[in-house]
């Protein structure tokens, strides 16, 4: 019997140890643990200061954070003073110089920092009273000494210098300006000129107006109980006088009807910082906030398994990381998606971001992906509870944003309830790729052209570090639109010579996405046209027009030209279109001077008899045409003329780049022949 039992035991033992472990599938989870959200207590002082207490006795430390709940202030000419007022509160009081404050804080190994919307202090419990004495002193009695202001101004000026080379700082400045407008507190960018206008009066007034107990919350977290907290709050903050705090409303944010394409230069950048961003009407605790947050997590919210990270990093290796962010705010929130990518893939990367945004709107998220994101959010929420400061923040948010008292207790249930349909609905409501600001910071000359394709109007605006436009169209009065057209005609050979042109045959090589095509274009006065595109020796497409009618033959079939396309062909097939511009039915309007590829150009808007509009740019120095933007059924087409060369006394561009949407053709002209006697029959179908 004994023998049997020991054999049995041995069997059990060996089975337990020796069974081949099946590693091919992941182990099952154990039953889910209980998630407890810590408690907080609150009370209000007579002066209106609302106090929250979160007890946490793990460490013998206590943290005090005072937060103002005030509207943002528009600073105008003295932008920067609000943040300086915060910084300088701890730079001297009626009884202590800055050096004494520093010394006292460091002596107890504590932290004390002040900022425009509050004060934070933390120390070992045994040094509590010293910390609070100093904290109350800098809160109630700051003097804002002139010499400390000067010192900080100098540092801020150096700081602005440093940021000018931070691609992210440049991008954020421009994004803020374009999202909110320069007349909004969120759209203000501090410049050296602003700093020069700041006085200690600005700081004193800000402090006196906004640092009021009735507009503030004090949060106490750590090794402390409610009784101790009440005693301390009364002792150190009870004498703080209340006063009415002004409200401010600014709601004049710009709206874009089409993508707004912006670029900025950073010298020597070997990467582009790209961003797609726009405002969203999203306040903290908004009924859609959790659903929208799930949507953003799927798209690009900071994990390995988001669409942006998988597409731009893991699939294409364009970047080290790509992320999106959906930020709520009491006034107005924003969405942004960004990445730093190598210069050569700037436009491709923007395309992928836009593609992923649109995909969120048109495809339901697969159940597995959604489950993953929801679990991540649940996990992240649970991990955050490790820090008692989280509980304090929950309390603060409930109070500040008027959230339901159980907002955080029911958070996980709300996350669990989000469906794939919700996610798609949120993407439709809060992602606006067609009205976004599309921004790239990098080697501006290299990215300007490729970014143009994202604007339906072919417009790229350059900005500087401060979010100011760089060389926009400058008004000119010393020349008329007609003169510019005449100068162009003269520059390419003169009217008489042009009128001698009977026909032109152009042979060119075009490349698109690495594929090469040969293009032969034959034109005959007044407006006959034949374009044959060949790959090797095979004609892949043919476009023919005899002045009255025409057709396009391509691998997709044959198409007779009609309607708008026919009209455009009639007007667009003239050998030198400018010869008609001065005729009746055309209007030309001078817009000013703009810099195109480092060349000053006159910008003209031409309206044809059909009503078709195009924009053309003529060099100020030489009169030649360098760019034309015209509308086509596929979107706006941008044509850039480069490297003019003389052929039989006429000037023709030797290289052209043409882009429609994200597609760019690079065209190199191999030969141009004039008046070879092309017969009319060539242009018949």
């Amino acid at each position: 019997m004994r023998h049997v039992i020991s054999t049995l035991l041995l069997c059990l033992f060996t089975t337990g140890l020796m069974a081949q472990l099946d590693r091919s599938t992941p182990p099952e989870a154990a039953p889910a643990p209980q998630i407890n959200i810590g408690e907080y207590k609150k009370f209000t002082l007579k002066n209106g200061l609302r106090v929250f207490v979160v007890e946490d006795h793990k460490l013998p430390m206590v943290a005090y954070s005072l937060t103002l709940d005030v509207d943002p202030v528009f600073e105008g000419d003295a932008a920067g003073y609000v943040s300086l007022a915060g910084d300088l509160m701890r730079s001297g009081t009626t009884t202590r110089k800055k050096a004494e404050i520093d010394e006292s804080i460091d002596f107890i190994g504590a932290t004390l920092s002040t900022y425009s919307k509050g004060i934070y202090g933390r120390s070992l419990k045994k040094h509590n009273e010293t910390l609070l004495t100093l904290m109350a002193d800098v809160l109630l009695n700051p003097t804002f000494p002139q010499e400390e202001l000067e010192k900080s101004l100098k540092q801020m000026e150096t700081g602005i210098q440093a940021q000018k080379n931070e691609p992210a700082a440049i991008a954020n400045n421009i994004a803020s300006v374009l999202r909110y407008g320069q007349a909004d507190p969120y759209g203000e960018v501090v410049s050296e000129e602003h700093l020069a206008n700041i006085t200690t009066d600005h700081l004193k007034t800000y402090h006196k107006t906004y640092f009021r107990p009735n507009a503030a919350y004090l949060v106490i977290v750590g090794d402390i109980n409610l009784k101790e907290a009440k005693k301390q709050a009364k002792k150190y903050f009870g004498k703080w006088e209340k006063a009415a705090v002004p409200n401010h409303q600014y709601t004049n944010w710009p709206a874009y009807q089409a993508p707004k394409v912006a670029i900025a230069n950073r010298d020597g950048a070997n990467q582009s910082t790209i961003m797609v961003t726009h405002t969203i009407p999203m306040t903290p605790g908004h009924p859609n906030a959790i659903k929208a947050s799930v949507m953003n997590q799927v798209l690009g919210g900071g994990s390995f398994n988001t669409r942006l990270f998988q597409n731009l990093r893991e699939d294409k290796a364009y970047t080290y990381g790509a992320y999106s962010r959906l930020s709520s705010d009491k006034r107005i929130g924003y969405f942004s998606a960004s990445a730093q990518v190598r210069t050569s893939v700037t436009d491709s990367a923007v395309n992928e971001i836009l593609y992923e945004m649109e995909r969120m709107q048109t495809e339901l998220v697969p159940a597995d992906d959604l489950e993953l994101i929801k679990n991540m959010m649940t996990g992240s929420f649970s991990r955050s509870l490790e820090d008692p400061q989280t509980i304090a923040n929950f309390a603060l948010n409930i109070e500040r944003y008027n959230l339901p008292a159980d907002y955080y207790r029911t958070y996980l249930e709300k996350v669990a309830a989000v469906s794939a349909e919700d996610v798609m609905a949120m993407a439709k409501e809060y992602l606006k790729p067609e009205q976004a600001i599309i921004l790239a910071v990098g080697e501006a000359d290299k990215i300007e052209e490729v970014m143009r394709g994202f604007s339906p109007a072919g417009e790229v605006t350059r900005y500087d570090f401060y979010g100011n436009k760089v060389s926009g169209a400058v008004e000119v009065t010393d020349v008329t639109a007609e003169e510019i057209i005449q100068r162009y005609i003269n520059a390419i050979g003169g009217l008489e010579a042009i009128q001698d042109i009977e026909d032109v045959t152009t042979s060119a090589t075009a490349s698109i996405q690495g594929m090469e095509f040969n293009m032969v274009t034959k034109q005959k006065a007044p407006n006959k046209l034949l374009v044959e595109t060949m790959m090797g020796h095979n004609v892949v497409s043919k476009q023919v027009f005899n002045g009255e009618k025409g057709k396009v033959t391509s691998p997709m079939g044959e198409q007779e030209l009609e309607g708008e396309m026919l009209e455009q062909m009639k007007e667009g097939s003239v050998i030198i279109a400018e010869t008609n511009f001065l005729n009746e039915g055309f209007t030309i309007e001078l817009q000013g001077v703009e810099t195109i590829d480092n060349r000053e150009c006159y910008k003209l808007i031409v309206t044809r008899p059909s009503g078709n509009e195009s924009t053309a740019y003529y060099g100020v120095a030489d009169g030649l045409k360098y760019r034309e933007v015209s509308s086509t059924p596929q979107g706006n087409m941008v044509t850039n003329m480069k490297a003019y060369e003389e052929v039989d006394g006429y000037m023709f561009p030797k290289a052209i780049s043409q882009s429609v949407g994200p597609q760019t053709f690079e065209v190199t002209i191999n030969s141009i022949e004039i008046n070879t006697g092309l017969g009319d029959e060539l242009f018949e179908e």
């Binding site: 472990l21 590693r23 599938t25 992941p26 182990p27 099952e28 989870a29 154990a30 889910a32 643990p33 793990k58 460490l59 430390m61 943040s83 300086l84 800055k98 050096a99 520093d102 804080i105 460091d106 002596f107 107890i108 190994g109 504590a110 920092s113 933390r122 070992l124 010192k151 100098k154 540092q155 150096t158 700081g159 210098q161 440093a162 940021q163 000018k164 080379n165 950073r266 010298d267 950048a269 070997n270 990467q271 994990s303 390995f304 990093r313 290796a317 970047t319 080290y320 730093q340 190598r342 993953l372 994101i373 679990n375 649940t378 996990g379 649970s382 991990r383 509870l385 490790e386 820090d387």
Partner: protein, 442 residues
């Protein structure tokens, strides 16, 4: 302003993936054992939040690389997310995130660290995932090709394109001529590009073995049950058979001051003095660390008060030893205010160091230093993930995880005389590299 400070501090701190060992709010209790295959295991139980951290530190960093194959250790950090025999490519992180966990990894000159923090009911999943990595990670051509591109972009983003991003690269190649600390973890991308797939396989088979790793399981666990699970997933992983490459290079003294100027895409000049230092966990190292706090810890510190507040020559100052296992360098630096000549700024830095060399620190200031360390050490080690990391580091570097509980003691044992002595011994011109970072002209 605070935003700018963050940027500057971030660019200094980004240099190091190992945080300072900041040990113990009271005692951190743990138990440890070693499996037959050589895997060392540390268990730490704290049930206050229902989460668990599973972490593995491999004793391989950039100092274990060959001079013509730098960047390998860091490259593996990327490769280890690609997949394993049982985990398809691109799915590794998904398992963790699907379970509501988070994961990441980092590489230093001394070691490579992988960690994940999961809801505590997913402990077994964490062990399965990490053991897959150790047993049979996919080191294949597809993953290698993708990660080659990603690492090139990382180099541009975090080093070349980030203002001051090349600080450690420029410093270490001048401070060391023999020791592998002379290159940094990112390495030379050309080495990675040139490496054949077999080289990566050999590296994996050599270093990613149980006898070269420590596993830490910390958080809401039951120790006995956790031990059984560790055995279940790790006991049958074979011991590595290849020789573990351990260099025996001792860097000769610098002997003479090295000075250089780096022109970078920056606006604010930086003066950096890198003094060669002794290894971590030595009395001199603790003293040097305290000297750094004396010079730059808080606004009443000497360099801050003199250079930033009184003379207004600097925007920001700092001094700290790089926490490398073997003798490395202490970085003392100042970002200059507008219009300040870097040479004058450096002279002002030197004056403060000279004062420490010549005059014993006053009692009261020394007491302040001790208070600062008391606050910092007691306040540290709060999070489970932090504790797991510190336990793994103490074991890997010094073979003694219990050092995590002795740190306050070590610092409190340092005397005023020690600080003066290390200033005299190490903070001298012939023991330093001085770099000026100046704005590139156009």
């Amino acid at each position: 302003m605070s935003h700018l400070k963050k940027i500057l501090i971030a660019s200094m701190m980004a240099l190091m993936s190992t945080a300072l060992l900041s040990a113990g709010s009271g005692e951190i209790t743990f138990s440890e054992f070693t499996l037959d295959n050589g895997l060392h295991v540390i268990l730490h139980e704290d049930n206050s939040t229902p989460i668990v951290t599973v972490a593995v530190m491999y004793n391989v960093g950039s100092k274990h690389e060959q001079p013509n194959r730098t960047g390998f250790a860091h490259f593996f950090e990327h490769l280890m997310f690609e997949g394993t025999k049982n985990i398809p490519r691109g799915e590794y992180a998904k398992f963790v995130e699907r379970a509501g966990g988070e994961l990441n990894a980092n590489t230093s000159a001394d070691r490579t660290y992988y960690y994940q923090t999961l809801p505590s009911n997913q402990l077994e999943l964490g062990l399965w995932l990490e053991s897959e990595r150790m047993l049979h990670a996919s080191v294949d051509s597809v993953g290698i090709a993708t990660q080659k591109q990603v690492v090139i972009e990382e180099k541009k983003q975090s080093y070349d394109n980030r203002p001051y991003g090349t600080i450690l690269i420029e410093t270490m190649k001048r401070a060391f001529s023999e020791h592998p600390y002379r290159w940094t973890t990112i390495g030379d991308p050309e080495h990675i590009m040139a490496a054949k797939d077999e080289e990566f396989e050999t590296f994996y088979k050599t270093f990613y073995v149980p006898n070269n790793a420590v596993l830490v399981v910390a958080g809401d666990i039951n120790k006995e049950q956790a031990k059984l699970l560790v055995e279940k997933y790790y006991a049958d992983i074979p011991t590595g058979s290849a020789d573990l490459y351990r260099h025996n290079i001792v860097e000769p003294p610098l002997g003479t001051e090295v000075r250089d100027t780096i022109f970078d895409n920056i606006q604010v000049p930086l003066v950096l003095q890198a003094y060669r230092t002794p290894a971590m966990n030595t009395r001199d190292y603790f003293a040097i660390d305290m000297l750094g706090t004396l010079l730059s810890g808080g606004q009443s510190s000497r360099l801050y008060r003199e250079l930033v507040d009184n003379k207004q020559m600097a925007l920001q100052v700092g001094s700290f030893p790089i926490p490398f296992n073997e003798p490395a360098v202490n970085l003392t630096y100042a970002f200059s205010n507008m219009g300040v000549d870097p040479q004058e700024l450096e002279a002002a830095m030197d004056i403060e160091i000279e004062i420490v060399r010549n005059t014993l620190i006053p009692e009261k200031e020394f007491q302040k230093l001790k208070n600062q360390y008391e606050n910092q050490i007691i306040g540290g080690n709060y999070k489970i993930a932090e504790r797991a990391h510190n336990l793994a580091t103490a074991h890997t570097y010094f073979g003694d995880a219990s050092l995590i509980n002795k740190e306050l003691e070590h610092y409190m044992a340092v005397t005023r005389e020690d600080i003066q002595r290390v200033a005299q011994q190490y903070f001298i011109p012939e023991n330093r590299v001085v770099l000026y970072y100046l704005p590139k002209q156009n």
